[in-house]
Subunit: 216 residues, 6 copies
Amino acid sequence: MTGPIVVINPNSNEAVTEGLDATLAPFRFNGGPKVECVTLRDGPFGIQSQLDSDSVILPLVNLVLSRKDAGAFVIACYSDPGLDACRSVINRPVFGIQESGVLTAMARADMFGIVAISEDSVVRHRRFMARMNVLERLAGEMALNITVDESARGADTYVRLVDVGKKLKKRGAGSIILGCAGMARHRGQLEEELSLPVIDPTQAAVAMAIGTLLTG
Amino acid sequence: MTGPIVVINPNSNEAVTEGLDATLAPFRFNGGPKVECVTLRDGPFGIQSQLDSDSVILPLVNLVLSRKDAGAFVIACYSDPGLDACRSVINRPVFGIQESGVLTAMARADMFGIVAISEDSVVRHRRFMARMNVLERLAGEMALNITVDESARGADTYVRLVDVGKKLKKRGAGSIILGCAGMARHRGQLEEELSLPVIDPTQAAVAMAIGTLLTG
Amino acid sequence: MTGPIVVINPNSNEAVTEGLDATLAPFRFNGGPKVECVTLRDGPFGIQSQLDSDSVILPLVNLVLSRKDAGAFVIACYSDPGLDACRSVINRPVFGIQESGVLTAMARADMFGIVAISEDSVVRHRRFMARMNVLERLAGEMALNITVDESARGADTYVRLVDVGKKLKKRGAGSIILGCAGMARHRGQLEEELSLPVIDPTQAAVAMAIGTLLTG
Amino acid sequence: MTGPIVVINPNSNEAVTEGLDATLAPFRFNGGPKVECVTLRDGPFGIQSQLDSDSVILPLVNLVLSRKDAGAFVIACYSDPGLDACRSVINRPVFGIQESGVLTAMARADMFGIVAISEDSVVRHRRFMARMNVLERLAGEMALNITVDESARGADTYVRLVDVGKKLKKRGAGSIILGCAGMARHRGQLEEELSLPVIDPTQAAVAMAIGTLLTG
Amino acid sequence: MTGPIVVINPNSNEAVTEGLDATLAPFRFNGGPKVECVTLRDGPFGIQSQLDSDSVILPLVNLVLSRKDAGAFVIACYSDPGLDACRSVINRPVFGIQESGVLTAMARADMFGIVAISEDSVVRHRRFMARMNVLERLAGEMALNITVDESARGADTYVRLVDVGKKLKKRGAGSIILGCAGMARHRGQLEEELSLPVIDPTQAAVAMAIGTLLTG
Amino acid sequence: MTGPIVVINPNSNEAVTEGLDATLAPFRFNGGPKVECVTLRDGPFGIQSQLDSDSVILPLVNLVLSRKDAGAFVIACYSDPGLDACRSVINRPVFGIQESGVLTAMARADMFGIVAISEDSVVRHRRFMARMNVLERLAGEMALNITVDESARGADTYVRLVDVGKKLKKRGAGSIILGCAGMARHRGQLEEELSLPVIDPTQAAVAMAIGTLLTG
């Protein structure tokens, strides 16, 4: 029997971890791998800057090394902090949610769009997509310009999502990625309203992890 | 409750469909979507040429249109025949196994390699990857130079797989795709021997389909 | 003596074939290859969707196989349906008009623009250009948003062409492709008005075919 | 009535011009544009270095400006010297043989190969293809390592062509370009022996020029 | 002791050379290489067209060949005329200011923007950047639409620079290149106002030349 | 007066810092910026793994924040650890030696090659160059397969450098980068023996830093 999929929230905000946990409920089933969400206690309360992102690499590595029981890991922050470092210290699969989200969006359409929380993260995401060599398939990335906290709670987040999603569709996006770990509860409704596949990146990563473990 | 994932073997060789069915057994679980493998009766006995590949597009479209109960489709031929056509006639997700396999391999390593059945298919695969704009991440594609039939039955297929896999690893491949629908039973052993993630493309596509349906 | 260039209109609209025939009159000369325009009787009345495009592949292959006398073939639909399939069954040259049109436009300027009939075709064209790896040289593709039928007859087509052509020029296009098989009669006038080379893709393909046969 | 296609040999070697003239004989027909080959008297005896290539730009511009009767120009040196400069001073079409040859080869296969005269020219050609953004479709360029003079006369040139052509085919080339203005007489035989389209770049450029003028 | 860095103004406007000389004053120090600015007497009064640019290649080669004492050369025109030709005739380093400016801007940010003097030069610059394969990192190039002469003297040049610079920043530019040899005196102030690194390309080239000679 | 260029050796091996100090002696001159080499005391003794590289990010940020007097920073490890993080916390220029080395090599030739210390680092370097989007200009990267320590002291390092350098030249490299912070003392001799520009990346970064500060 394979070990659990350990989904790591690299910030120390337990509410975010609980949100991930709820988001991933559909992925728990009899006979399937356990899906466990954990909080990186040493992480900052939110990951918004490059420094926030880099500050969690070593704590992530330590957490990953300590979970010898895990079957696979998902780093549940859209900046994919510590992805290379974690992969370099263990043999088990490690998925980043940006990477998985982008690749899953590419499995659904020729061009994809991204809804980001803030302008600041757009540059960081672009850098990662440059490394992935997928920019030619990016229709655009647009920011909601709200805080991570608002994105999880704010009442008008959905209205903004629809607005930005429609603009990305007009630019040619055939699928949309929610560029943050905390917007999954809007996914289904947005997908219906836009008539486009909408990808929650954490769900995308966990689906890939399950696929790996089921065949392990 | 969502409908089944209909995995279509676009050739008329029932043995191949049965092989797919066995390969996908781990993806069937209580509470998850049904995974059903069907044979395209109008397909050729094997898909080895461009013409074989193009000849199944309309039959695939008809099959897809007829399965109003399906939650998602997987076209289980590594040439991804009819992918655009099927997507254009229904709103439900359609996954191609080449596309899903390549993207899943990209979720595991910076560069990936492909083991093809024959030299002839290498050009066709390259064309599709050019369209996907992923060639910069391809370490190489090398052929076993055996028939599809041999690939499913031949005793020394595994020996050839190890040989080609090692060559691809030397060229920089950090993950390996089995570039055909019928080699999944070698996946686990090969993965262990190469110390690299080995992707069966049908399993990769079904994992993505499950991810989509679980959150639907 | 080489056989004729068989220009295939893959839709069953004879008026389109007659239009092609008139368009290609300048390419008929003493001592040169015959240029013959034929209608694909099994084709749909117009090719506007992905399914229309894929539905003509096998009929095209059959037609190509039946014309053992032909020196070369031109598939005169801007989606280039069946190009790979036709090439795979005969040794003689087969030209697609999108491919030839794009390459000819690239022989005239660093960046090219495309005038499409409708928004729907833009995505399909982009996919083909991605495979050609020429998107970096595309200044833009803009739609007239008229039907194929209107494009052949509509009085204000030319006005729309000038408008879209000027916008493409402003975006950096140094040459313009008429992204449809039926707009050639506007070519000369548009070229003069825009002060840019304007390429009719069927003429571009036939010129390449002639070049091949003259040196055969 | 349109003016002649003026094919300029930018070196002062009249034998090369005569060779071009013979090569282009098939492109002369009743009712078609005149095809006239001229020697750039101010050019060096052969163009083998970057300096040779740059030294002919201004003389080419002068020649082009002086031929107010011409319908189109072809610069018949595979380095395409003076292409931008000539285009910038007149409105009539100017074709470079490298550019036309590469684009014509791309109209025949997914990947193309080039046979160069010498190693030295390979770097110069690559630079131009980088600018064209076509390197991803280049299977390879290999040198015969003979002089331009030998390429026109040497007895074993053909043997070398076959050898290099076969190597390029093995690397994936689906079409082959003769990367020099003086090897056309081997084209047909080589094409048959390799079972691949072989492109003479001057013929490719003249075919494009004819296409332009016939529809002018 | 190494020879001087010879900075060549390829136009014959002595005022431009004097401007360069002032711009480069900070690069002269005890123990460092001499930095000498020279005028190409055979050059046109300004380099604004492709022909202007090509017309200076041979004079540049002659100048370079004549300066056997030089340690390195800088061609101080943003079109980088004669760069390949000059490099091909001597072993000592030759820097182009466009090339050096672009590469230096890439050392400061993921994406860079360019302020051009006129629209006309934008196409020429793009061509060179295509050859460099750096277009994916270009946020945009926008023209001030003033003459070279105005750029050196015009009172409102700075106002235009700020306006264009802000637009480029909005498009994602993390660094800005002054796309002409004569705007260095605005560099510092503009950098402060935009809060972005602003690169004078001649200074960038001379810094690279100094780096090369100091370690020679 | 501008502050010093602080060159940070991110490993704790003082001998490496001393080596850098000697390497940079030529960059110290009257009136120029001070060039100061410092050791990151919290760093590992050598940086050879991804984890080593990531482990120094926060210490580097702290060091950078503490040096309010510095005019510019150079991170002297070829993996460019902490480059984004350091840039995000201060406004002053921060140069990475891999980035600067690659860009400086691109200022000298169409294609460049890299000599790495070990195979392991090749993948890490490729990832960074993918992000830079410069892989199309990479002729190859080959490893000496010696330790960092040996590279600084080993007697036969030079012999290996020549061997690898010649192989890279044969693959088309027009300039060579020493892909490690400790091989500068071989630079001049290797450059002469290969007849190619050889770039020490730390020197390249310091030259860029000087260029920035001289014009500040």
